[in-house]
Each structure stands twice: as structure tokens, then as C-alpha cells.
């Protein structure tokens, strides 16, 4: 019997090793990815992370981090919906705030994917040529530079990890003490030096985009001379990846139109596509930022987030000469924009008849003005909770009725998904940053020239919002700066205000204010004004200088890595 048992066990023993080896299914290993096709595919995923995928807070669109914190908009909607954003707009950041962690994690996912490309290049198979390595490496480093740029201005210094550290090789020990700027510059410089001017796919980055990003990184460090030198080259010779010389599109609104994606103004944009099988390719981070309960009469349907502020609306007021009210008087007395706050849609209302910058009605959805090719904005009917959000809805990245089903995606819980590319850098941004650099260099006239390029485009009558009758929908009055600026200060004020008007809602404002060192003054002024209109949402909120410029390092990461590895930002 014992012999029998032994035989039994031997039989078992002889086959068990291979019996206990089961390969993974539906997945790849590293060796399969080190071919040219494989590395190119990994590079796609680095781009893919730009919009944060299903993590709204991680998108480079920065609608919360740049626009809401900068006063372009408030959270909108109901106080309780996505309430994690409430403390962000009130500058009451908790270190445990989920949205803050979302941003951190999403950006580092981008970093990790870029690092994977770099690592695969170092072990690439023979079919990957040296020039492939340069080009692919250039794109990956550009994108890594982008993700670190976002981390830097979001959190100040964060751990710098590249392809040399990973799980198992000490990644958890990298501290957040080193300044990120040199590494960001190095990545962007490499991309600028190695990327071609044009590429086979419109969505890839190129040499000029890298140059523009590098210049932006210089601007954040107040390296105006370096920035100016680059801007001169970019403005003179820059072109898009698909070979279009940089220039402003004739009509302002066409910079935000899916059918006009990858135009001459598109320096670097998140490529969006509808009906791909996943709405995560169709600006998922904007899915909540639509007028509410519109039925078939309007775009989106949900959820009234990202409501432009009263203050922003007022900023579009122009004087008789068509210039903005740079003294800030737009927020007082008769200059304030007339709104339908407190009115039902059934109540009569006539929109403001005063002079306004035409960009107002491309940037803000307001009562009585045609909402793209939908209907006239009905006011309160499209607002989820006016008392909390105010009278406006977002408009810049909205889709047209004619885009429904083709450049818009119906396959998820809301129709609010579009193929509109989200600009990370557009040419107007380049011109206005160049103008800033020129102001700091003392060349005020050059700065005025750049600003006027932007204003001229805005003043194109063909771009004005019109009623069915052909009339302008409002009293659009705009002109260029016709006279030279009298001082550097005056020039600065004008250039900076132009940025606010031109780039509102595009995720820049807060970072600009911090970069200029005016965040505390400007944001507290905004909060003081706005909280009178929206006392529930913003009453009592204030920006604390030397603290609120940066987000707290996520508490869970500190808890995980230790206080000595991750040092919390001051004030938290």
C-alpha cells in the first residue's frame, strides 16, 4: 500500500510545476513593448493622461485650479454637489481634500508613463533608430516637463522621479526638497532641441510647442530675458505640428470649435475625440460643466458647474473708446453688468445695453443672448441653483447643435462630451506672455503691438454674436490700444488685464496671479465683491498669503512616505 501511495505522489509530483504556471491573459510584458510600435504605443498613453481620463481634477484644463481659484468662475451648481470643491474656492483647503489628491495622482500617472517611455528607449530593440529615440524621447520629455510644470505650480516642490527610480529602486525615498524648475527646463529644452518642427500626427507636440512651454516656464521664474529671446523666435518662425504658421484664427470663437481643431492658434492642445467607444477621450473633465436641465434645447444638460463670476462678467465692460476699465471701476455702480439674478425665466428681462467687449458673449452664457446655435439663453431655467451659482453658465468649450452626434458623444450618462480640443497653450497666450516679457524688458511698444494683435482679432465684427435678425446681440464696443502706454506699470496692468479677458475660463488666472505676486490682493478683492452676490457659497472666504498660493501636499502621501520624505507646504 505504501508503494501505491508513493506512486500516486510521484505521478503528481512529475507534472505539477508546469501545472502551476498560468500566464496572464489580455496583458503584455515589458519585452513586447520595447519595439518601435510598442514604445510609440506607450507614448500614446502619456498623451492620453493629459485630460486626467476619468479624474476630472487632473486635467490640464485646470477649470478648478486655475479658473475657479482665480475668480473667473465659482463652482456653480448646488452647494452639496461635488462639495469637495467648495473649500477650494473658499481657500479652506484641508490636507485630506480628495480633489487635491486627485490632481497629484493624475499628474504623477503622466510622469510615470513618460518615465516608462524613457526606460523603454534605453532597452529598445533594434528596430528603434537613433532618430526615433530622439523624437520619441523628445515628446516624452516634453510631456514629463508638462506634468512637472503642473505639479510645480500646483504644489510647489514635489518629489522628482525620472526613469531611473521606480518601485523597488527607492522611489518612495525621493524627497520634495529639490526645486523642480531646473528639471522642468531640462526636459523642455531637450524637447525643443530634438523635436522636429512638423510631425506626421497633428496631435503630437513639436519643437515650437516645446519652445513655447519652455518660455512659459521661464516666465514663471521671472526669467524674462530668456523668455523674450525664445518668444522672438517663436513669433517669427513658429508653426503648428501640422505645418501651419502660428497666427490667431480670424474669429475668437473658432479657437474653441471641434471642427476647427488644430488650427494655426493651436500651439499645444489636448486632442479630444467623440464616439471613440469611451467618453474619456471626449473631455470627460468638463462633463459637469453644462447648463442644467436644458432638454433638447441646449447642450449638455448637467450639472451647472463652473459658473462664470459676476466679477468676470463685469470685467468685459468697455469704455466709450472700447477699452477695458483698467481702474477696476467695472465692479461699481452703473458699470456692473446687468443680470437676471433673482428672476425666473418667465419674468421679463432685457439684457444689459451698455458697451461690452464681444468676447463676453463667447466666454459667458447669459440670459437673453444666443447660446451658440441653440436658443437664447433662458436664464434661470438653465441654472441649477441660482442662489448658489449666480446667473451665468459657461460657454467657451460648449458644443454646437450642429455638432450633436458627430463632434459630441451621447454614449454616457450625460451628452456633455465633445471633440473640442482643450488648449494648453494657444497662440494668443504666447503673444500675451511675450507682451509681458517685453514690458519687463522695457519695450512697451512691442508689448502694445502684441496685445493689439489679440484685441484686433477680438474686434473682428464677423466674430460678434448676432441675433437671427443679423444684429449684434449686445452693444459690442472694442478697440485696440491706440496710444502708447505711459509707464511700465500702466503697460503691465493693460497686458495682465488682457490676459484675464482673452484667456478667462481656460485655467490660467490663478497661476498668473500667483506668478505676478498679486494673488492675495486680487483674489481677496474678488471674494469681497463676489461674496456680496453669492453669500452662501463665498461669504467669509478669504485667501491667506504665503499659504494658499500652493495646495497642501496630500496627507495620505505624507502618511505613506513619512514627514521627512514629504515636507508639508507652509501654513498647513
Amino acid at each position: 500500500m505504501l508503494a501505491f501511495v508513493a506512486v500516486l505522489m510521484l505521478i503528481g509530483y512529475s507534472c505539477k510545476e508546469s501545472f502551476l504556471e498560468i500566464p496572464a491573459t489580455g496583458q503584455l510584458d515589458e519585452a513586447q513593448l520595447s519595439t518601435k510600435k510598442g514604445i510609440e504605443g506607450v507614448l500614446v498613453s502619456v498623451y492620453g493622461q493629459l485630460n486626467g481620463r476619468d479624474n476630472r481634477m487632473a486635467s490640464a484644463s485646470n477649470w478648478v485650479w486655475g479658473s475657479i481659484r482665480g475668480g473667473d468662475a465659482n463652482k456653480g451648481t448646488d452647494p452639496g454637489d461635488f462639495s469637495d470643491i467648495n473649500p477650494i474656492q473658499r481657500f479652506e483647503y484641508q490636507t485630506t481634500q480628495g480633489v487635491t489628491q486627485d490632481k497629484w495622482k493624475g499628474l504623477y500617472e503622466g510622469v510615470a508613463r513618460a518615465n516608462l517611455v524613457m526606460k523603454l528607449i534605453s532597452v529598445a530593440q533594434a528596430d528603434v533608430t537613433e532618430s526615433d529615440k530622439k523624437r520619441i524621447g523628445g515628446e516624452a520629455r516634453f510631456l514629463r516637463g508638462h506634468y512637472y510644470f503642473e505639479l510645480k505650480r500646483g504644489f510647489n516642490n514635489t518629489p522628482y522621479v525620472d526613469e531611473k527610480v521606480d518601485y523597488g529602486t527607492g522611489i518612495e525615498k525621493v524627497p520634495n526638497t529639490a526645486d523642480l524648475w531646473p528639471m522642468i527646463e531640462a526636459d523642455l529644452k531637450y524637447a525643443y532641441d530634438n523635436l522636429p518642427e512638423t510631425q506626421d500626427a497633428a496631435g503630437r507636440t513639436n519643437k515650437w510647442a516645446a519652445g513655447a512651454y519652455l518660455a512659459k516656464a521661464y516666465m514663471y521664474q521671472k526669467k524674462y530675458a530668456e523668455a523674450k529671446a525664445l518668444y522672438d523666435l517663436i513669433i517669427a518662425g513658429g508653426k503648428t505640428t501640422n505645418g501651419k504658421k502660428y497666427g490667431l484664427v480670424p474669429r475668437f470663437q473658432d479657437a474653441f470649435k471641434a471642427s476647427n481643431d488644430n488650427n494655426s492658434e493651436s500651439v499645444f492642445a489636448i486632442q479630444a475625440a467623440a464616439n471613440t467607444g469611451s467618453v474619456n477621450n471626449a473631455n470627460p473633465e468638463f462633463d459637469l460643466n453644462w447648463p442644467y436641465n436644458v432638454g433638447p434645447n441646449g447642450p449638455g444638460n448637467c450639472c451647472s458647474f463652473f459658473a462664470p463670476s459676476f466679477e468676470l462678467g463685469n470685467s468685459f465692460r468697455t469704455d466709450a473708446t472700447g477699452l477695458p476699465l483698467l481702474d477696476g471701476s467695472y465692479n461699481s455702480g452703473g458699470n456692473e453688468l446687468k443680470t437676471d439674478m433673482g428672476l425666473k425665466s418667465a419674468d421679463p428681462f432685457t439684457p444689459d445695453a451698455g458697451r461690452v467687449d464681444p468676447r463676453l458673449d463667447h466666454s459667458i452664457g447669459r440670459r437673453g443672448i444666443p447660446y451658440l446655435d441653440w436658443i437664447d439663453h433662458p436664464g434661470n431655467d438653465w441654472i441649477r441653483n441660482q442662489a448658489n451659482a449666480g446667473p451665468y453658465t459657461t460657454k467657451k468649450y460648449a458644443y454646437y447643435r450642429t455638432d450633436v452626434g458627430s463632434l459630441q458623444d451621447n454614449s454616457s450618462w450625460t451628452p456633455g462630451y465633445t471633440a473640442i480640443n482643450i488648449n494648453i497653450i494657444r497662440y494668443a497666450d504666447v503673444l500675451l506672455m511675450a507682451a509681458e516679457a517685453e514690458v519687463e524688458a522695457g519695450s512697451l511698444e512691442k508689448a502694445r503691438e502684441y496685445v493689439n494683435l489679440v484685441r484686433e482679432r477680438a474686434a473682428n465684427p464677423a466674430s460678434f454674436v448676432k441675433r437671427a435678425s443679423g444684429e449684434n446681440a449686445a452693444n459690442y464696443t472694442i478697440s485696440t490700444y491706440k496710444t502708447a502706454w505711459t509707464s511700465k506699470d500702466a503697460a503691465r496692468t493693460a497686458v495682465r488685464f488682457e490676459r484675464k479677458l482673452e484667456l478667462s475660463g481656460e485655467g490660467h488666472r490663478f497661476f498668473d496671479l500667483v506668478r505676478w505676486g498679486t494673488a492675495a490682493t486680487e483674489i481677496n478683492a474678488y471674494l469681497t465683491y463676489e461674496s456680496k452676490k453669492l453669500s452662501g457659497a463665498l461669504g467669509g472666504a478669504k485667501f491667506t498669503p504665503n499659504k494658499n498660493e500652493y495646495l497642501p501636499i496630500p496627507q495620505d502621501q505624507i502618511d505613506l512616505l513619512g514627514k521627512t520624505v514629504l515636507v508639508q507646504n507652509p501654513g498647513y
Binding site: I11, F19, T158, C302, D559
Partner: protein, 1088 residues
């Protein structure tokens, strides 16, 4: 030969069988016959006669006769039958053995079926519990596992009211951070789910709780093993035995939560605005509140219509004929135009989505046998509707079990079941057990304002398209929309076995078991129009898949008595695959016609197709057990099992899990015999190791990369309509992971006192899991999309007491009683995590921004974590004097200042002040079963209690705060909310603000006591006396009526305190629990 069996277990099986045929030895058998009778002398039909230490056995005929082959004079017959005391009879040289059975079987005399062996309780050294098969049928549930609730000490069952739902079943606590489901064995074949089993087919249920009992299942035993065997039939049955068990009844939905009436909601909306003004020190303005539904005056006015073509707050009468011409509810035909009357009486939305749900179950059983054969065939049908519309469970099962004597010493047999299973309209992850954590239709019912009617004036659905009521969706429309959804699963399960008696006492058994299942489903998403947030496309989806798993087991059992020594040895080998198969799913939009007969995957646009193939996990195991008995007093058992699993890399693939246990039967000692009231007394002790690998992904050893349309694709070419595939790291591998090991210690006492009137089974136990496998969180800088590898660090402890007391007897000759009390005390604690890690930062589920869970060292799994509310701020002075707290104001939560950066209270309320607020793990669970019999009548009740668990009732976020979703329905609890004039309350001020001090944080306001006591069942039955039955030529006729869940005593404010979850690191959170509600059934049991 190697090549032959490399690829499949079947090959291995047959080659082993071939090896074996040559080994057939012969043994001389002789036949013993006899009759089993009760004390009165009448034959007991269906009693089991087993040759001790073997699986050889038979059942008595209708007259109580049996016939069995024995091998030697030392063989012992074990005779058992429900309701009688199990007897052991030495065969000796007799050829006729007549046995008179005493009634009142003691629990300690029963037979324990472990899957590999059949033991008598008397000689068991481990912690084992059994459940009587009739207890499994007492309450009608779709899934037999639910019946374990309160029946087995030390088994925690948290379940919900969905028919056919899975449940959280935990044997002796939570050993790991996941994968704590027990191992199920059905007729010797392991399976992951027992929802296919018909309770009427089950013969015995055994729960193996400690290592001594369960370690024979080694690496898969750490969470306990639940062993079911199905009915077998009787050899030489004189006639076919037929049983019919039928049950009919209804489940009632009970009542929903108390919500505000339309007028109250209007009044409280106004009050919220007044409260805002109070907080802001301003005057209230009522313009545009609730989109003007209640007017704008100082007093709210209920409108007559809430939606007239988009207009709100319409008062007065309408020309409905004219309105009807404008009516349109088809979004494809242009603007929606509805006319919705205000329901001033108020709609009871819970009532609207629920129903009195019928249930029926029919089981037919046929059993019998010939000289060398026995069989059981069962056919059953169960149709159980859920209390929700379009929610139900159906099971049709056909079972056939048979066994044949091929030679005198060779038997073959099989068990097989074919099942059609349909579960429709279920929600919740993990097969339904996660329902409480979902924002489901039950929550919707409590979010829909009562002023909204179910239907508009012209037959369409009404809803929040009427502005001012935020975004809840019409839950009736939601349920109706599922009417055409369909789906089913087909399941075949069973085994084929050979048993060979090599020599006397030595039996070889080989079994091959398999489970094949497939499923198919289709579903429709209607185009909505009635809500504020609507589906903008008509959706269609399909899914299908199949799965095949197999198990091959070979055992050799040797059992022999040498004088005062008894020895029982089993060695075995097992190879299995947990299931390989395929899933596929596809979806599409907007078919030309929404006629469901037209729709298929071909006729829709925007098709998305997904599939995945999986290979399952392979196990290869060797095991053995030695049981030595000396003089019927001292029993020692040693078990060891060595398992290898494909879940682990080659370096740590094998685990060895030994267990030792011993028992001393004091009652056999002479000095004990003088104590008259002790019938049986045994002290048991066991120590052993058990393994677990459930919580490890089979791919854990590999670093993997993959493409995912949603997570890594990109439209690099700028096409606007397509995206390239991108590859990213999906998993970081760990080739060094090894088995989790649970060390269990158990001390137990089995006592039978007063001649079987009182049984006490008491166990003190401790289970320490080390090398806990879990995904240790890694720095986000490595990328958060890659799954972290599971690493063996961390320890968890579970300690407890299991107690079962059975008291039975007769008060008079006719009046008998039985009282069965089970109790389990449990303490779960996370002892350690990875070095430097104090809590699992990777487990932080969010519920609308509230993160209630923290798994931290020194606390139980899934503990609730947040701010402790010490009260509501009484006034501005208190706010000013209190520690700084964002958003503090009168009537809002005041949090306790617990800590600061230096570990001491610092006058600032921030993340440092969060603390533990309770645990969802019950400290005590228990049941009481009381049964009285009087002549033919029987009355039984069964009660269950769960004590000491907390529930995080996050549904209050939706219903108790105005700003959560402004305008949605409001709980009646706010009538007691804080006002300057009502400060003695714990319900905060009802106002618009949503901030740190109101509704946004995890805090103790949401934490409630989840203890409850429930009368699960009350049954009154009547059995016809045997003299009448004889005239009817029947064996049995019993009719009964019962009610389930008659009442529940609890302080919990939600619908039902049975709040589970589908993840052990994350349960006890109530968003929209599907309640267990009262049902009434009548039934009949027939035997021919």
C-alpha cells in the same frame, strides 16, 4: 505518460484510475441485515446505517429494514436518523442486527461530513458545527447560505432582502483584507457559490471552523469550510420514496422612511432661507427659491401644477384639452412638453416602487435503490419576486445522485445537478451583497419630493424635469424601464467517483468533479425625458460568458481498531482549476426602432465590444490526516496539507499547513461515571495553520502592461472621432508573494448532560493571520493606475467565543420542546501593516465627498473614521470661544479638538482631529431557536441578534441637509432640526451652506448603532398521525404556516440594520439598503 496528463486533470484522473485497477484487492464481505425501530417498535424508514469509518452505508426501507455488507466481526454499524439518537452497534458474528433507536438525538452524537471523511461527533477534536437540513428550508431565501445566519456560532452573516443575493458570510471573523469568503464544498467538490443548491436537496451541512477541523483543506481553509452533501437514497429500498415540499407566500415591502409632506417641504424650504438669513444676519429673500414652485411670498404656496411646458409654480386651472395638443414626451420629436399636477397629498415613492411580492417553491424528491444501487432524484422550482418592481429570482434545478456496487468491493457513483438560474433587477456589487453602498432606486425613492406625482396628466412619467427639485430620477420609471431586461445562467455541477475497498478497512476513493456555467443577459436603457438629468440616447447591452472548473481528488483511507487502539488514516491528493472561461459584453445606442424584438447588437450604432478570457487558478495538493483513539478516552488528530498554487511565483509556490488536536473524553473515565448528570463530556484542544490566497490576484507575480480605451488611448492624429491604443503599466508584479497563514488556537468543551436533555458546545478561539497579503499602498509618484503588488506583510487577529446550547425534552408525553441557542463573540483587530504604515491609505471610498473608512492598526477592519460631533454650536459666542473650525456657525456641528501636529489638542480643528467612530463588525451575533411539539402540532420560532456593530448611515447626507441636493426630498427628521428656538437637538440647522461644519465631512452624526434583534421565523405546523397516513398510503403529511421577519428591534434609523458590503475593508455603509421585510408563507410536506 507524462505528456498524457500534463494538460488536463481528466488525463491525470484516468491514468491514476488505470494504475489503480491493477491494485484491486479482494476482501471477504458478508451480509448483515436487520430492522431499525423506535422505542415503540415501529420501523424507522430512511434511517442511515453506515459502516463506521467508511463511506459505506445504506438507508432503511419503509419498514425500517436494512442490509449491509460488513468485512469483519470488529466492524461497527453507525445508525442515525433525524430525531433519534445515533447508535453504534458492534456487528460481531451476528448476521441479523435489530436496533432500537432512542429518540432525542443529541447534537454531540451526530455525523460530521467533512467532504473527505465522515466522522462521528464523538471522536471529533476540532471545532465543527452542523446545521439541520430542515433549518435550511425554514425561511424561503434564494441562496442557501443566508440560512446560516444565527444557526452556527461563530459564523457572521450579513445579508439583505434581494432575492438570490449573495451575503457577507464570515466564519470566525475577518482573517484578511479581502477574500474572506469561506470555502464551499458540495458533495466533495469545491465551489465559490452555492446559490444553485435547492435546500430541499441537502442532506447535511457542516461548518469546519478551526484548523483542526479544516486544515485538511489546507491552503483554502483559513476562512472556514462549509460542507454540503446532498441526498443519496437507500440501497434495497422496498419501494420508491417520493417527497413533495411546497411553499407559497408573499413578501411585504413594509414602510419607507418618513419624509416631509409637500406642504412641510415647502415650509422647510422657506425655513432654510430664513436660516440662511439668520446666519448671514440679513433679511430672507424668497425670489426664485425652488425655481419659484412655491411662489415668492413670505409664506410658501403649493402650486397646482409643477410643470406646464417647463413653467413652474402654476396655480389655477388649465385647459387640459388645449394642453394635450402641445404634449410631447418623445425627445426624438422635439421639445418635451408635459403637464404635471402637484400631488398635494404627497406621493409615497417607496410604496410606488415596491409591491407585495409572491414567492413559491416546489421540490419533488425521489429516492430508492436496488440490491447494489441507490439513487436520489430531485426536481425543484423556486420563483421569488423581490419587493421592487421587475426584481426577482428563479431557479429550476434537477439533481440526480446515484451509486452502484460494481463488485463487492467496488462502488461507483455520481452526483449531478443542472440548474437554470435567473436573477433580474438586482443591484449591488459582488452578486448583490454591495447593494447598501449604492445610490440605487431605493435611495431615489427617498430623494424624490413627495409633491411630484408618478405620472403626468397625460400618462407619461412625471419627475424633476419640473424644475426646482434637483436631480432625483423617477424611480418608478427606472424600475419600469427594466421590464424587458432578461438574463439567466445555466449551471451544471457534480462529480463522478469510484470507491474501492482494497482490504478490510482500507478504502481508495477517486472523484472527479466539475462545474460548468454559462450566462447570457440583455438590457435596455430607455430614453428619458421626465428627469432633470436624462439619458440622451437609447442604450442596449448584451453580455454572455462561460466558465469551467474541475477538481480531481484521490484519497486512501485506512481505519482499524486494535484492541483499545483505534486508528483512522487518510492520505490524499487533489488537483483543481478554479475556473477558466470567457466573458463578453457589448453595448450600443439608438436603434432605428425601440421595439425590443427588433433590437440586437447588429441594429444599434456606436457599438462597443469587450471580452476577456481567463484561465483560472490551479492548485495541486497532498494531504493526510491521522486520527488515533485510545481506549475511547484519548483522541489525537494530526492533519497536514501541502498546497501549491499558480497564484504564486515559483519561489514561494508551496505552503504546508499542519494542525494538531487532541481530545479527552472525560465521561469515559471511571471517576466521572459517578456523576449522574454527565452523559458525555469531552475537552478538545487544537492548534494549527491554515492558508489563504483568495486575496491575491492570480497575476500578482507578473508586471503587466495593457491598453484601455478609457484610461490610456488618445486621438494623436487629431481625427475628432477615433483614438489610438496606448499602453501603460497596469500591474507591478511581486514574484515573492506566498501564502497567508492563519494560526488558530481552539479550546472547546462538548458536553451532553441529563441524558441528552442538554448539550453544550463551547469554544474559545483565536485566529492570528500573519504574512497578510495585501496591496501595500505605494507612492503615487510611481503612477496610480498600476495595481500595487500584494506583499506579505501585516497581521490580523480575530478572537472569539462560540457557544451552542441545546436543551430538549418532554414536558408531558405529548408536549416536547427543543431550545437551541447559538452565540458568537468576535473581536477583530488589525495588528500590523507594512513597516511605517499605520493605515491603508489605498482604501478610502468616497460617498459624495465623505470618506468614512479607515483600516488602521489597532482597530477593526473597515472602521469608521472622521470628526466627532460634540454637539451643535448654540450661538455665536460659543463659536467664538471654540477651537477654530472652518465654517463654524450656530446650529452647525461642533467637532471635538482631539489632536494637533504635536499630538495634543491645538485649538484648530483639522485633519489631525479625526478619530475612530465605530466598527461595522458585530461584537456578538446569535440565534435562538425554540420548538414545541404537541401531538401532531409543531410550533417553532427562530430569532437572531446582532449586537455592537455600527452603521455609517450616509443616506442622511441626501435627506437631512438642504444643500446636498437642494430641492430634493427631505427627511421628516429635520422637523426637529436646530433653530434658535430649538437648540436641544442633534439634528443640525437646515440651511443652504455646505461646508466643513455642515454636511461635507465624515463625522459621528452619520454613525448609528446597528444592533438589532429580529424574529426571523415563526412557524406553526401540523403533521397527520401515522394511522391516518397509513390509510392514505402516505409516509408523511405536514402542513404549516409561517411568518418571517415579524419584527425587528433596533435603534437604527435607516430601513434595515442588515447593512453589509462587498469588500471587507469597506462595509457597513448605508446609502440605499434593500431591506429584509416581513413575509408570510404556507407550505406542505408530503411523503409517499
Amino acid at each position: 505518460m507524462k505528456q498524457l496528463y500534463m494538460d488536463s486533470g481528466r488525463g491525470l484522473f484516468f491514468s491514476l484510475l488505470l494504475c489503480f485497477v491493477s491494485l484491486i484487492a479482494t476482501a471477504q464481505d458478508r451480509k448483515v441485515t436487520g430492522r431499525i425501530t423506535d422505542i415503540a417498535g415501529s420501523g424507522i424508514p430512511g434511517a442511515t446505517v453506515v459502516l463506521k469509518g467508511t463511506q459505506l452505508g445504506t438507508n432503511t426501507t419503509a419498514e425500517g429494514d436494512f442490509s449491509i455488507n460488513v468485512k469483519s466481526a470488529t466492524d461497527v454499524l453507525v445508525v442515525s436518523f433525524v430525531g433519534y439518537k445515533t447508535m453504534e452497534v458492534n456487528v460481531g458474528n451476528q448476521s441479523v442486527v435489530n436496533i432500537k433507536m432512542d429518540d432525542d438525538i443529541s447534537a454531540l452524537e451526530e455525523v460530521i461530513v467533512t467532504g473527505y471523511t465522515v466522522d462521528s461527533r464523538r471522536e471529533t477534536t476540532g471545532a465543527v458545527a452542523t446545521v439541520k437540513s430542515k433549518d435550511l428550508t425554514a425561511t424561503p431565501s434564494g441562496n442557501v447560505e443566508q440560512q446560516l445566519q444565527g444557526r452556527v456560532a461563530g459564523v457572521t452573516v450579513i445579508t439583505n432582502g434581494q432575492p438570490g443575493t449573495t451575503s457577507q458570510i464570515r466564519v470566525r471573523g475577518f482573517g484578511a483584507f479581502g477574500g474572506n469568503e469561506p470555502l464551499y464544498i458540495v458533495d466533495g467538490v469545491p465551489t465559490g457559490s452555492t446559490d444553485f443548491l435547492n435546500p430541499d436537496d441537502i442532506e447535511s451541512t457542516t461548518v469546519l471552523k478551526d484548523a483542526a477541523a479544516a486544515s485538511i483543506y489546507g491552503a483554502r481553509a483559513a476562512n472556514g469550510v462549509i460542507v454540503y452533501t446532498t441526498k443519496k437514497g437507500t440501497k434495497k429500498a422496498r419501494k420508491l420514496s417520493i417527497t413533495y415540499d411546497g411553499l407559497f407566500g408573499v413578501t411585504t415591502p413594509g414602510h419607507g422612511q418618513k419624509m416631509l409632506s409637500p406642504q412641510e417641504q415647502a415650509d422647510w424650504t422657506w425655513q432654510a432661507i430664513k436660516n440662511d438669513a439668520f446666519q448671514g444676519d440679513s433679511l430672507p429673500k424668497f425670489t426664485n427659491i425652488a425655481s419659484g414652485q412655491y411662489g415668492s411670498g413670505d409664506k410658501p404656496v403649493l402650486p397646482d401644477y409643477i410643470n406646464v411646458g417647463g413653467k413652474t409654480g402654476v396655480t389655477g386651472s388649465l385647459d387640459l384639452a388645449a394642453e394635450k395638443l402641445k404634449y410631447n414626451v418623445d425627445p426624438t420629436r422635439g421639445s418635451i412638453y408635459q403637464v404635471v399636477r402637484a400631488n398635494k397629498q404627497g406621493t409615497d415613492w417607496y410604496d410606488a416602487i415596491t409591491r407585495v411580492a409572491p414567492i413559491q417553491r416546489h421540490s419533488l424528491g425521489f429516492s430508492g435503490g436496488g440490491d447494489g444501487s441507490r439513487f436520489y432524484a430531485g426536481f425543484s422550482a423556486q420563483d421569488q419576486k423581490g419587493i421592487l418592481l421587475n426584481n426577482g429570482f428563479k431557479r429550476y434545478a434537477f439533481r440526480i445522485n446515484s451509486e452502484f456496487d460494481v463488485l463487492k468491493n467496488l462502488r461507483i457513483g455520481q452526483n449531478a445537478q443542472f440548474t437554470y438560474l435567473q436573477i433580474l433587477g438586482q443591484s449591488g456589487g459582488g452578486g448583490g451583497q454591495g447593494v447598501a453602498a449604492d445610490e440605487n432606486v431605493i435611495l431615489s425613492a427617498f430623494r424624490m419630493p413627495s409633491i411630484i406625482p408618478i405620472y403626468d396628466e397625460f400618462g407619461g412619467y412625471a419627475g424633476t424635469a419640473a424644475k426646482g427639485f434637483n436631480n432625483p430620477q423617477n424611480p418608478v420609471a427606472n424600475r419600469d424601464g427594466q421590464a424587458n431586461n432578461s438574463g439567466f445562467a445555466g449551471n451544471g455541477f457534480g462529480n463522478f467517483y469510484v470507491e474501492l475497498d482494497i482490504i478490510s478497512g482500507l478504502t481508495f476513493r477517486s472523484s472527479v468533479g466539475a462545474q460548468y456555467s454559462n450566462y447570457s443577459n440583455r438590457g435596455f436603457n430607455r430614453l428619458q425625458y421626465e428627469n432633470s438629468e436624462n439619458n440622451s440616447a437609447y442604450g442596449y447591452n448584451e453580455g454572455a460568458g462561460h466558465r469551467f472548473s474541475w477538481t480531481l481528488t484521490n484519497t486512501v483511507n485506512y481505519k482499524k481498531a486494535f484492541g483499545r487502539h483505534g486508528i483512522d488514516v487518510i492520505v490524499g491528493q487533489e488537483a483543481l482549476n478554479t475556473g477558466a472561461g470567457k466573458n463578453q459584453s457589448s453595448s450600443g445606442l439608438n436603434p432605428f426602432s425601440t421595439n425590443i424584438n427588433y433590437i440586437n447588437m447588429t441594429n444599434v450604432s456606436s457599438r462597443i465590444v469587450n471580452s476577456d478570457f481567463y484561465k483560472g487558478v490551479n492548485f495541486y495538493s497532498l494531504f493526510g490526516r491521522v486520527n488515533y483513539t485510545f481506549n475511547d478516552k484519548y483522541i489525537v488528530t494530526g492533519v497536514v496539507r501541502r498546497d501549491g498554487s499558480s497564484r504564486f511565483g515559483s519561489s514561494n509556490r508551496y505552503g504546508v499547513f499542519p494542525a494538531f488536536s487532541a481530545a479527552w473524553r472525560l465521561s469515559s473515565e471511571n471517576f466521572m461515571k459517578s456523576i449522574p448528570f454527565i452523559t458525555e463530556l469531552k475537552i478538545r484542544g487544537g492548534y494549527g495553520l491554515m492558508g489563504n490566497s483568495n486575496n491575491v490576484d492570480p497575476n500578482n507575480q507578473y508586471s503587466l502592461y495593457g491598453a484601455n480605451l478609457g484610461l490610456s488611448s488618445y486621438d494623436l492624429n487629431g481625427t475628432n472621432s477615433s483614438a489610438l491604443e496606448g499602453y501603460y503599466r497596469t500591474r507591478i508584479g511581486n514574484n515573492n508573494a506566498k501564502w497567508e497563514t492563519s494560526i488558530t488556537k481552539n479550546i472547546g468543551i462538548d458536553a451532553t448532560l441529563f441524558k441528552g436533555k442538554l448539550d453544550i458546545i463551547l469554544d474559545l478561539w483565536q485566529k492570528d493571520t500573519k504574512d497578510l497579503l495585501f496591496q501595500v499602498p505605494i507612492t503615487a509618484s510611481a503612477g496610480y493606475r498600476a495595481s500595487e503588488p500584494s506583499v506579505n506583510v501585516g497581521k490580523m487577529s480575530n478572537k472569539g467565543i462560540d457557544l451552542q446550547i441545546i436543551n430538549r425534552g418532554r414536558i408531558t408525553n405529548d408536549l416536547g420542546y427543543e431550545l437551541n441557542f447559538t452565540a458568537g463573540v468576535l473581536r477583530n483587530n488589525i495588528e500590523s501593516l507594512a513597516p511605517g504604515l499605520t493605515y491603508l491609505s489605498s482604501v478610502n471610498p468616497g460617498f459624495r465627498g465623505i470618506n468614512p473608512i479607515r483600516n488602521q492598526v489597532g482597530n477593526s477592519i473597515s472602521s469608521f473614521f472622521g470628526y466627532k460631533v460634540v454637539g451643535l454650536f448654540a450661538n455665536k459666542q460659543e463659536v467664538d470661544g471654540a477651537p477654530a473650525q472652518d465654517g463654524a456657525a450656530p446650529g452647525r456641528f461642533r467637532y471635538q479638538d482631539i489632536s494637533g501636529p504635536n499630538g495634543k489638542p491645538d485649538g484648530i480643528i483639522n485633519a489631525d482631529d479625526r478619530t475612530f467612530l465605530g466598527s461595522p463588525v458585530p461584537k456578538f451575533t446569535g440565534g435562538i431557536n425554540i420548538k414545541l411539539t404537541y401531538k401532531g402540532f409543531d410550533i417553532a420560532t427562530y430569532m437572531y441578534a446582532s449586537v455592537g456593530n455600527k452603521i455609517f448611515n450616509v443616506s442622511k447626507w441626501f435627506t437631512d441637509f438642504y444643500p446636498s441636493f437642494t430641492g430634493a426630498a427631505v427627511s421628516a427628521r429635520v422637523k426637529d432640526s436646530w433653530l434658535p428656538t430649538n437648540t436641544n437637538t442633534s439634528t443640525p440647522i437646515f440651511e443652504s451652506t455646505s461646508n466643513f461644519s455642515t454636511n461635507t465631512q465624515s463625522n459621528s452624526f452619520y454613525v448609528e448603532d446597528g444592533s438589532f434583534f429580529r424574529m426571523q421565523n415563526l412557524t406553526l405546523g401540523y403533521t397527520l398521525p401515522s394511522n391516518i397516513l397509513g390509510r392514505l398510503k402516505m409516509q408523511k403529511l405536514r402542513v404549516y404556516a409561517s411568518t418571517n421577519n415579524l419584527f425587528t428591534l433596533t435603534k437604527y434609523q435607516g430601513l434595515d440594520p442588515g447593512v453589509g458590503g462587498n469588500a471587507d475593508t469597506n462595509f457597513g455603509i448605508d446609502v440605499g439598503n434593500y431591506p429584509i421585510t416581513r413575509s408570510y408563507t404556507v407550505g406542505i410536506n408530503l411523503g409517499f
